[in-house]
């Protein structure tokens, strides 16, 4: 069992004929994902990946023909909001956006629109979702994770890989790993994912990987204290980052005192969450 993606996922890849889209569509198939369609406007009627995946001109057509229930967006930043609106209007209930560098006001509008339709967005600037052995919707390398009972939620990409890999080396497995994205404003937050993991009978423990900036971790701490019964372990990146410096992710900036790692760590500790000193130390706390 798992959250969000599994064997029933019927995946549509937006931007499937692009370099990234095509490469990762193949990787997702190798990770047992049911990739049913691709969309690239103007390329409808073609087949890609040795004739395994049909390409359509629009999401609507692709969804009607193939029954796709999840979409992944590999479209460049300036066209990505439109791709998300298109998937939403075609009635796709789960949209995962890998694209990084989307203007924040675009995402505020996208999210507001999707919220009204009850459609779930993961990302943007997300490495995606993996349920090892069942499905991978994103770019997380499949060989660094194995099936298990630990749920992982993260704002980061490669830092998440680091944690998954150290779990695997220690013989531990993952139920589902979700990268919610590193941007200032994203479609789904820690609380949304904590709620799903809490309800998933096969997730027994949860790892939360946060970083400086914003107050997502603090709000997650409040939610954990009130509504999560499963043990949670966390790592927060940026503990030594100097204030006022932007550290790459749009989200990772400390302004004044709010958003600092120490504030997040004390909030999480107060909610009973154990904090790892570094990413490889997470597994010792499980």
């Amino acid at each position: 069992m798992s959250i969000l993606v599994n064997q029933k996922t019927r995946l549509l890849v937006q931007g499937i004929t692009g370099r990234e889209g095509l490469f990762h569509a193949e990787q997702m198939i190798l990770a047992k994902t049911n990739v049913v369609a691709g969309v690239t406007p103007g390329r409808g009627g073609e087949w890609v990946l040795d004739g395994k995946v049909p390409v359509f001109d629009s999401v609507k057509m692709a969804a009607e023909v193939t029954g796709a229930n999840t979409s992944i967006v590999f479209v460049p930043a300036r066209f990505a909001p439109d791709a998300i609106y298109e998937a939403a209007d075609a009635g796709i209930p789960l949209i995962v956006c890998i694209t990084e560098g989307i203007p924040v006001q675009d995402i505020i509008r996208v999210r507001s629109y999707l919220d009204r339709k009850g459609i779930r967005l993961i990302g943007p600037n997300s490495p995606g979702i993996i349920t090892p052995g069942e499905a991978k919707v994103g770019i997380i390398p499949a060989n660094i994770a194995q099936p298990g009972n630990i749920g992982v939620i993260s704002r980061s990409g490669t830092l998440t890989y680091e944690v998954l890999y150290s779990l695997k080396k220690a013989g531990l497995g993952t139920s589902t790993c979700v990268g919610i994205g590193g941007d200032e404003i994203v479609g789904s937050d820690f609380i949304d994912m904590l709620r799903l993991f809490e309800a998933d009978p096969h997730t027994e423990k949860i790892i939360l990987i946060g970083e400086i900036g914003g107050d997502d971790e603090e709000r997650a701490a409040t939610f954990i204290a009130k509504s999560v019964t499963k043990p949670v372990v966390a790592f927060i990146a940026g503990q030594t980052a100097p204030p006022g410096k932007r550290m790459g992710h749009a989200g990772a900036i400390i302004e004044g005192r709010s958003g600092s790692a120490s504030d997040k760590i004390s909030a999480l500790q107060a909610a009973g969450v154990r904090i790892a000193e570094h990413p490889e130390a997470v597994l010792h706390l499980l």
Partner: protein, 379 residues
């Protein structure tokens, strides 16, 4: 991208927000000339991209053209929080009766645009927000509807604005909202918005920050970037799509992914070292990009050792290894380095490094420990 005060005011003016008469200059002579044109009292303001200009003596009132010239000369010689002053704004003097705060920004927690307003604008607005948060009026805006007229009226009432000023305030708030939306600002604020003794409303000072990710659709705004106010290595890094921040320590770091890069810096500190920089090469970097990144680190005289940590996903470790070997072939004296490659094509990458006799590490912790040791041995 943060704009200077004079640039922010140019935008205000474009969106119908009244600003004081004035001009930006870069010499004391020009400052005097502008003062002559304006006549009467003027204010000379340092244009630097840091807060606290006033408290540092970078904003001065002058009554005569001679005084203007003197102040201008002194301020142009100043450095404010480490930044040299290259430009001055010379504005007409304003008789302040009341100071208001008005700003639009994104609220991360609520994920909506928010208009902030206060009847107690001015230099101490942050203090007001801390001590008396109820004096900051927050109005959330539906991003698909935009700021509505009734919301602006509600704000006017909440900040006790006399009815005589409502009409002009509505125009200013509408203008600021349009600026925020059309320029893709992450912050557009007027502080203070002044009511003068002559009963005029003027944006005396302001700050606009533009979303870097949106600059592709704002060529005119992108040209406003003031490179002289930034660290040259950081400017160079941006050219290659690298994210680089100079820090105070001795261990140069090259990592893929912002979160992992921050975690790597944390681990160096935990092991007793000090990072010399944050450097994220991003996802899917090619050998050329890695070479450029390493070149930036190698040109930093503070660097005594280098730690390279790559977890290959989109990024291929053999590409990274090729970039490293490429950069090293260009330099004679090189600091010791530890390299850790995991993930996509790591085997091939490690072989390339072994052929070039470079030190590798297995785990992140081991890599950080080795780097700290090497840096300590190097001094």
């Amino acid at each position: 991208m943060r704009l200077h005060e004079y640039q922010s005011k140019q935008l205000f003016s474009k969106y119908g927000i009244p600003i004081p008469r004035g001009r930006v200059v870069s010499s004391a002579d020009e400052a005097r000339q502008v003062a002559d044109e304006l006549g009467g009292r003027v204010v000379v303001k340092a244009q630097v991209l840091v807060g606290g200009r006033g408290k540092a003596g970078g904003i001065r009132l002058a009554k005569t053209p001679e005084e203007v010239e003197n102040h201008a000369r002194q301020i142009l010689d100043m450095s404010i929080k480490g930044l040299a002053v290259h430009k001055l704004l010379v504005d007409e003097g304003i008789n302040i009766a009341k100071e208001i705060y008005l700003g639009v920004t994104n609220d991360r927690a609520v994920r909506l645009p928010v208009v902030l307003a206060s009847s107690e604008g001015g230099m101490d607005i942050e203090e007001v927000a801390r001590r008396t948060p109820e004096k900051i009026i927050r109005t959330y805006v539906d991003p698909l509807l935009g700021l509505r007229e009734y919301q602006i009226r509600d704000i006017a009432v909440a900040i006790d604005l006399p009815k005589d000023y409502w009409r002009v305030f509505m125009g200013i708030a509408r203008g600021l909202w349009s600026l925020y939306v059309e320029c893709d600002a992450t912050l557009a604020e007027i502080n203070p918005l002044v009511i003068t003794k002559e009963e005029q409303v003027v944006a005396l000072d302001g700050k606009v920050i533009i979303d870097d990710n949106a600059l592709f659709r704002h060529v005119d705004l992108a040209e406003m970037r003031d490179l002289s106010a930034e660290n040259p290595a950081e400017v160079e890094a941006r050219k290659y799509g690298l994210s680089y921040v100079k820090l105070a320590g001795k261990i140069g770091c090259l990592v893929n992914g912002a979160g992992l890069a921050m975690a790597t810096l944390d681990l160096i500190k935990l092991c007793g070292g000090e990072p010399a920089n944050f450097l994220d090469i991003g996802g899917g970097a090619c050998a050329e990009k890695v070479t450029a990144a390493l070149r930036i680190i190698l040109s930093d005289p503070d660097v005594a050792a280098i730690l390279i940590n790559i977890f290959g996903g989109i990024t291929r470790c053999d590409e990274v290894a090729r970039g490293i070997v490429g950069a090293l072939s260009e330099v004679k004296a090189k600091p010791p380095m530890v390299i850790r490659l995991v993930g996509t094509n790591a085997e091939e990458g490690r072989q390339l490094l072994a052929d070039a006799h470079l030190v590798t590490a297995e785990t992140l912790e081991e890599a950080a420990e080795k780097a700290v040791e090497l840096a300590a041995g190097g001094c």
